[in-house]
Structures are given as C-alpha cells and as structure tokens.
C-alpha cells in the first residue's frame, strides 16, 4: 500500500524535553548520524500514524535561529531548504517567555508550526497557568499540552501536527510580530524592491528575507547573492542604507532593537495568557545547588562524582571486560581447533580475531561511561560541572564542559573523544577532541611500567607520574596554540542555562547508551578490522623468508643430538637433558621468530624508518614497536617482547632483563616513553577523531601534529638527558 509520507521536524530550546519526546515517538527505531559536513548530531526515525508514514527529524536544540552557532544554522537551513511538512516546537511551559523567542522566529520563517507546551504540570506546580487557547488565537498557531516524561499528550500532538500539515494554513499576516514604525517602514521599502527583483518562484518568505537583510544576516545575504546574481547587489546596498538610517534613529544596531522589540511582543503575549498565582513557588533546584555548587562543597562533591564515574567505568567495567577477553580467547582457541592450520587460520586468529577482539573488550567501559554521562546530562548536573570547572578550563581556551572528556582520556581516549559531543560549540568540540589524546590513556601504562621499571627501578613511580604531567602540559600548550592559530577569533559566549534538576528516565538513559554502543561497534569495528588485518599482513609476510640460518635443520639436529644423548644417559640425567633439549629448541624458535620479524615487511619498514628514530636513541626494534603501537598502544610491549625474543611475549620480568642487556640507555628509554605518551593515538582513537570532527582532515592533522610533537619532545629529552 502506498502511504502518504510526511516529514515532521522537532525544534525547541535545549532542556525543553525535546529529546524525551523524540525518544517517546521513535523509541529504538531512531537513526543517529551527523548532519552533512558538520559535527552536529542528526537523529531521525520513521513511524506510522493514522495512515501516514511519518519521518520525525530531531533538529538541534537552540535558543534562537540567529545563524551564529552551527546548531542554529543546521536547524534553520533544514526548515528553509528541506521544507518539512510541519515543525513542532517543543516549548518548556515553565519557561514560556524565553521559549517564545525561538517560537516567534519560527513563525516569522512562515513554516507550518505547531506549539507543544511541554511539562505544563511542572509549570502549574510552580504557580503558572497558561491559557493555551488564547495563545493559539493570539499567535495563529495550533497549541497542544504535553508531558513528555509521562508520554501524555504526545498522540494528540502528533494528530494535530498531521492535520496541520495536511490542511493547515500559514500564519496570517495580522498575527505576526509588528516592529516599531520606523522599522516597519524600512521593511516595507525593502520588500517593495525585493518584489520587483524577484519572480513568483522566490523560495523564502519575503517579509522574513527582508527582516534578515535589515538584521545583516550573513547567511541570508550570501544566499540572496546566489539566487539573484548581480541584481541582488542593489538590494543589499539598499539594506545597508536602511540599516544606517535606523542606526541613526535608535543609536543602536537594528538587530538589537528588533531583539528588544520581539521580547516586548512576547511580554505582551505573556501578560495575556499566563496567570501567575500568588503562591510562592519552591525552587527545589536552587536548594540542591546550595549544596552542589556551594563554594566549599562544590568541588569535593564534583570530585567524588568523577571518582565514582571512573570507578564504575574502569573498575566495575573490568569484570565484563575480562569475560569478553575470555570469550575472545575461547573463540580463538575453539576456531583454532576447527579450522585447519594454514594461512587462513593465521589470518582469522592473528589478524581478525586478535585485532577486533582487542577493541571489543572496551565495550563495557564505553557502555558504563556513557551511562554515567547520560545520567549527568539528563539530571542537569553536567551544566553544574561546567559551571564549576569553567574558570580552570578557560585558561586553556576551553569550555567548562571540556573537563569531563579530557579526564576520561586517562581511562581510554576513544570514549573520551566521543564524550566531547556534549559540547555545544563546534570550536570547543574539535579543540577538545584534538587535545584529549595527550591524556595518557591506560593502554600506555604497560609501556611505562616495563620501561620505567627496567631503567628507573627506584624512581619508576616518579617517572611515570612526570609522564602524566607532561601529557597534561602538552594538552594545555596545544590548547593555547590551537586557540590562537587554528581557532582564532572570539570564544563562543559561555552564557548557559542551568536547567532545573530532573529525575532521569531509564528509557532515555538506555537509548543514549545503546546509540553510542551501536556506533562504536559499527564504525570502530570496520576500521579496526581493516587496520589490524593490514598490520597482521605486514608482520606475517613475506612467507618465504630467506633465513640466514636453516632453523629447521638446526632444530632437527638438536633434537637428534639430545635424543641420542638421552638414550645413553642415566634416568636422573635424562631429565636434565630433556630440559636442555626444550630450552635449546625454544631458543632456536625464538631466533627464527626474531629473524622473521626483522625480515617481514613490518621489520623492513622499521629498518627504513629507523633513521628517523635514531636521534631519539630508538633502534629499529623500538621503531617497529612504535609502529605496531598504532593498533593499540599496549601492543608496543608485546612487539618488544617478540623482537627481544622473550618467552611468552609479555612476561615482563623476562622482557626487563632482555632490555637491560640490550644497548638501550636510560636516556633512550625515557625518550621512548615520551614518544609513546605523545605520538599518534591508536587506530580506534583516530577513527573516533575523524568521526567526531566529521572530517578525515582533522584526524590527519591530529596524527601529524601528535607525531611531530612526540618526535620533538623525545629528541629534546634524549639529547638533553645525555648531558647528565
């Protein structure tokens, strides 16, 4: 059956309950992605209602449609260019005055709009009563009441939206915001010219276009230039003249006057539709904030919450992580028993399962972390965290909310980079994503433990602590550097609402968590799979290595020699000989493995790039270890295990003595640790960077920049340390 399709866009202020309503409407049928070309999350979902196929699009939450922030541009462009059949504006009923600002901008856009007065129950308990009929009549827009978190009124809202989309009228001219006489005169003058210049097919509402020109709206000016070509010049020129005239009249930019007048209009509406009871309202949120943002208690409580989040994510998460690890190794050995030995088995076990398995074990961490973050956001605590931390983060040129992603970086960079989504401004988000990899993640710790433990035994703890500090210092310096070169210009205004505290809803917490998990599994899985297969191929090939020694023959010979000796020996000596025999054979196998690693493509690449690492005191083995660390930083240790021919690869005591006996100096070890601290985040992190910034270019920048910084820092450390 061919159903009629309608597209419904949801708009509203942040914290208006829009997401709750969207979740209620679409449930788990929602698709999360990014808006094309930008880093703003796009959510949509398909549902059916009274014979219509409805596509619900969740526009970014904004306070206004002034095209200053990327979210505002995305929301406005969608309405202007994609022409949704109807827009539902979710209005926080307890915050009507501020919400009506956005609502009026929607009305001016001349799209079909329905107002949903959400959380009206809360408004009433606060002593407001809103006359919905009157509001609808005054503004010329259908109005419905909803209680999003209880699912009340949402069916009705959808029904009215569909009706309005099918048969509703636009907003009558007489119901629109009237500006003061001088501004209205300017509007009609400019409108006359616009009408002369444009045909009937002009895509935007004319009054709105003219208003935007008088407000000097950069986006509209550009669009108009594209539509009208040369003839737009006259229009823009006239707009500038009118602006100058209005500026002289008001001694103020016209857009400021108009913002003021819109609020004046809104005040008039509020007076008509809202009855505030005399009853003094109780502000529970304020009471909670007396404690949570208290001058003395605020920080200790914040630190406690962060500590609890860390505990939950990394300590509690360690158990399911272990189960997954066991599952992966069980799968690996199970398949090993079934699949016949050969190149396919190696590919499957050492390439695919080892690679994907090493990343999938982070899933519990990611789920728990995002559960905590969703909890912080949904309760309203995130805004308080930003309030507390902003002073400190602002020193690096960041927003208070950047603190949480950066802190999470100490656990694992991947969820940390994903956590940067909580930042509203694109600049802040990208900057946070770029500096988070300098936070020393837990995968780097094994490398420090091995190297610092070997070369700085007594001071290992201090050295490792200094490394963490060095990472933070690199983050701060990078923040300041990028802020003054890459992200020049003014900071996004911090002005932020501290929303009332709310009980979180389990459903929305779970949806939030599941979204992240799905994204992690899908996108990360693909890239990591490819990455680990590439690394595996490089380390496993070429197969026909021209060994300097015929290991097979030597092993055979050793076996024969010992077998003969054992036959001749006494029983008590036979045992000792058997031990010697297996030691000898292991030694040969290890030697073969080292030579294989050396002559594999990876080893060859290591040889080729080793001149680059020479000034850092790192030899070809270190170079190869660093290369393989791209898969995951803890791999650096196991690669060193292979290259220094250590039994069991990660047995750290054996590796330590092997390293001690190698020609690595303490200075070189320190340089290597500094390099591992700072260089390219692992594949998973690079993928996350590309994804979260919405562009591969940022990922490349990150790879190039971090590696450059790492090289420079390691160089300074190595060359400097040699003088002592």
């Amino acid at each position: 059956m061919d159903k009629k399709r309608l597209r419904i866009a949801l708009t509203g202020n942040p914290n208006s309950g829009k997401t709750t309503i969207f979740n209620h409407l679409t449930g788990t049928r929602q698709k999360v992605g990014n808006w094309p070309g930008v880093t703003v999350e796009k959510k949509e979902g398909d549902i059916e209602k009274s014979g219509f196929g409805l596509k619900i699009i969740d526009l970014p939450g904004t306070y206004s449609l002034t095209p200053f922030s990327i979210e505002e541009i995305v929301a406005r462009d969608f309405i202007l260019e994609e022409n949704p059949d109807v827009v539902i504006d979710i209005i926080d009923a307890s915050n009507l005055e501020r919400s009506l600002y956005l609502a009026n901008q929607l009305r001016e856009l001349d799209c079909k709009v329905v107002f949903a007065l959400n959380m009206a129950d809360l408004a009433e308990s606060r002593g407001y009563r809103i006359d919905g009929e009157k509001l609808s009549e005054l503004l010329g827009v259908p109005v419905v009441f909803t209680v999003g978190n209880k699912g009340k009124g949402i069916d009705e809202m959808l029904k009215i939206a569909v009706e309005h989309a099918v048969s509703g009228q636009g907003i009558p001219e007489t119901r629109k915001v009237r500006y003061s006489k001088d501004i209205e005169n300017a509007i009609s003058e400019l409108r006359q010219l616009l009408e002369e210049e444009t045909g009937p097919e002009f895509p935007y509402n004319r009054r709105w276009t003219v208003i935007k020109l008088i407000e000097d709206d950069a986006v509209v000016k550009r669009r108009l230039g594209q539509i009208l070509g040369d003839s737009g010049g006259e229009l823009l020129e006239m707009a500038q003249q009118l602006r100058a005239r209005l500026f002289e009249l008001f001694n103020e930019e016209p857009e400021i006057v108009m913002t003021d007048e819109r609020y004046g209009f809104i005040e008039g509406i509020i007076r008509e539709v809202v009855t505030a009871s005399k009853r003094r309202r109780v502000d529970i949120s304020r009471n909670i904030d007396l404690v949570l943002t208290n001058r003395f208690l605020g920080f200790p409580i914040f630190i406690f919450f962060i500590w609890a989040m860390f505990q939950l994510t990394f300590t509690l998460g360690a158990y399911p992580m272990e189960w997954l690890e066991q599952g992966v190794s069980w799968l690996s050995s199970g398949l090993g028993a079934v699949v016949p030995p050969g190149i396919f088995r190696e590919f499957l076990l050492d390439g695919v399962i080892a690679g994907v398995g090493s990343v999938i074990v982070f899933l519990p961490n990611i789920l728990l972390l995002f559960f905590c973050i969703a909890l912080f956001e949904d309760t309203g605590y995130m805004a308080r965290a930003a309030f507390l931390m902003d002073r400190i983060m602002h020193l690096i040129g960041l927003h208070g909310k950047s603190f949480i992603p950066m802190l999470m970086g100490f656990g694992c960079n991947v969820p940390a980079i994903m956590a940067a989504r909580t930042l509203e401004s694109r600049k802040d988000r990208i900057l946070t994503v770029l500096i988070t990899p300098f936070m020393s993640c837990s995968a780097r710790l094994p490398v420090y433990i091995v190297l610092a433990g070997t070369f700085f035994a007594a001071h290992a703890g201090t050295v490792i602590f200094m490394l963490y500090l060095a990472g933070i210092a690199a983050a701060i310096l990078t923040g300041r550097l990028f802020r003054s070169f890459l992200f020049k210009g003014e900071d996004a205004p911090f002005v932020m609402e501290l929303p009332p505290y709310r009980m979180p809803m389990v459903k929305s917490l779970l949806i939030h968590m599941w979204d992240r998990a799905k994204m992690f599994l899908k996108k990360m899985g693909g890239v990591i799979l490819v990455g680990s297969v590439i690394i595996w191929v490089l380390s496993a090939y070429p197969k026909d290595i021209d060994y300097s020694v015929d290991y097979e023959a030597r092993i055979d010979k050793a076996m024969q020699t010992y077998d003969k000796q054992q036959e001749a020996a006494l029983p008590e000596e036979a045992e000792r000989l058997a031990e010697q025999r297996s030691e000898k054979i292991d030694e040969l196998i290890r030697a073969r493995r080292v030579e294989h690693a050396e002559k594999s493509y990876l080893g060859k690449i290591g040889r080729v790039i080793s001149p680059v690492f020479k000034p850092l005191g790192i030899d070809w083995r270190g170079s190869v270890a660093i290369l393989t660390g791209f898969v995951a930083k803890e791999v650096v240790v196991s690669t060193m295990g292979v290259l220094y021919a250590v039994e069991g690869e990660t047995e750290s005591e054996a590796l330590r003595s092997a390293l001690r006996n190698s020609d690595i100096t303490p200075a070189a070890a320190l340089a290597m640790m500094v390099f591992v601290l700072l260089y390219i985040p692992c594949i998973a992190a690079v993928t996350a960077i590309a994804r979260e910034t919405g562009s591969v270019r940022w990922a490349f920048l990150s790879v190039g920049y971090t590696t450059g910084v790492a090289w420079l820092a390691a160089f300074v450390v190595y060359q400097g340390a040699r003088f002592f």
């Binding site: 306070y63 206004s64 002034t66 200053f68 307890s94 915050n95 005055e97 501020r98 600002y101 606060r126 930019e253 857009e255 400021i256 913002t259 003021d260 609020y263 003094r280 309202r281 502000d283 949120s285 304020r286 904030d289 943002t293 208290n294 001058r295 003395f296 605020g298 920080f299 805004a383 930003a386 309030f387 507390l388 902003d390 002073r391 400190i392 602002h394 208070g400 003014e490 205004p493 911090f494 002005v495 932020m496 609402e497 501290l498 929303p499 009332p500």
Partner: protein, 85 residues
C-alpha cells in the same frame, strides 16, 4: 530614595538584585545575551559566584543562567534595594 548609581553586572555581589540598563560588547555576545532574555529593563537576582569566583549565576524570570564574569562586564545594570523573595 536616591537613584542608585549604574554599575556593571560583574561588580554586583551575591544576593543582590538589579535591573538591566544596557548590553554592550561585540555583536555576537550581545545578541546571545539578549536572546537568552537579558533584555533592557529585566530584573535579576545574583544567585552566586562559582567557587573560583567565575562564572556567576543569576536568576531572571525564574530561569537560572550562568555567564562568565568577563561577559557580565559588558552589561550595565542598576542595583535594586529590595532583596529577592
């Protein structure tokens, strides 16, 4: 009662109330401040300063807003004598 001196929002103390006289500063910040409802004539109450004395929190029309002290420094206000209910 004599007319109180105009001052900057950033100079107000915790627990004081006032009324907004004008918003200055660059256009972007100015418009954002206005769009959040801090328009001329609006009354506000200084809820608190963050533990590190920046940003500050104020209530207008029942809404809690936070803004940096440097941003509050573009807003001229007149203090009101009556204290918040």
């Amino acid at each position: 009662m004599e007319k109180p001196e105009a001052m900057l929002l950033s100079q107000m103390k915790e627990g004081q109330s006032g009324r907004i006289v004008s918003v200055n500063g660059d256009m972007r910040l100015r418009r954002r401040i206005l769009e959040m409802g801090l328009t001329r004539g609006t009354e506000f109450y200084i809820e608190k300063y963050a533990p590190l004395r920046d940003p500050m929190e104020l209530t207008i029309k029942g809404v809690h807003l936070s803004l940096r002290v440097s941003e509050a420094a573009v807003i001229t206000v007149e203090p009101l004598e009556l204290t918040h209910g």
